[in-house]
Symmetry: C2
Subunit: 109 residues, 2 copies
């Protein structure tokens, strides 16, 4: 179960189009920072900040071999977003059930 | 289909525990700003900023009757998050299928 801070960090990491695009690209398989950076019109230091944000929030991992840093996705990490959404849906369903029960009781009166 | 800016705003709105808690509370039914504010240890102006962020990103709506502003959830709006997640899962599934095919081809050689 993700705590508040944890979940806030993941949502914040996902609030940027560059970081979402990195996740999309890595979904198709691991890639080096150099390969990833080619997809974005920004300097390498700017791009690295996004990589660090994603890694700091556990959404990606990176390993350095010699001069090459290879990034991969931590797919399980995105599950905290799905879990949060599911919780909201359960709250809405519970409300809908209460409204249905209330309507049925009204009809019985 | 949500555009980049749209989706970034929704993720940013969800990156704060107060705003997620407002969404959770409103999932159980509409509530006035005054009722909502009681759940949070902050000044009303600070709380109103969160309400405006949620409303600005379309996650909640509010209507004023006299002195009371009542907030309700726009449930469909959260679907952009679910849609984005589903897209990532489809990308991962496609990769898994490719890896399976590749493994099968290796075996045939």
């Amino acid at each position: 179960m993700a705590n508040h801070e944890d979940l806030s960090g993941v949502f914040l990491a996902l609030s940027d189009p560059t970081r979402r695009e990195v996740i999309r690209i890595l979904g198709a398989g691991p890639a080096s920072v150099g390969e990833l950076a080619q997809s974005f019109a920004m300097t390498l230091p700017s791009f690295m900040k996004h990589v660090h944000t994603l890694e700091g929030n556990g959404l990606i991992r990176s390993v350095k071999h010699g001069r090459v840093r290879t990034c991969s996705l931590d797919r399980d990490r995105l599950a905290v977003v799905g879990d949060w959404l599911d919780t909201q849906y359960r709250i809405w369903d519970a409300r809908a059930d209460r409204l249905d029960e209330s309507a049925a009781e009204q009809e019985e009166v």
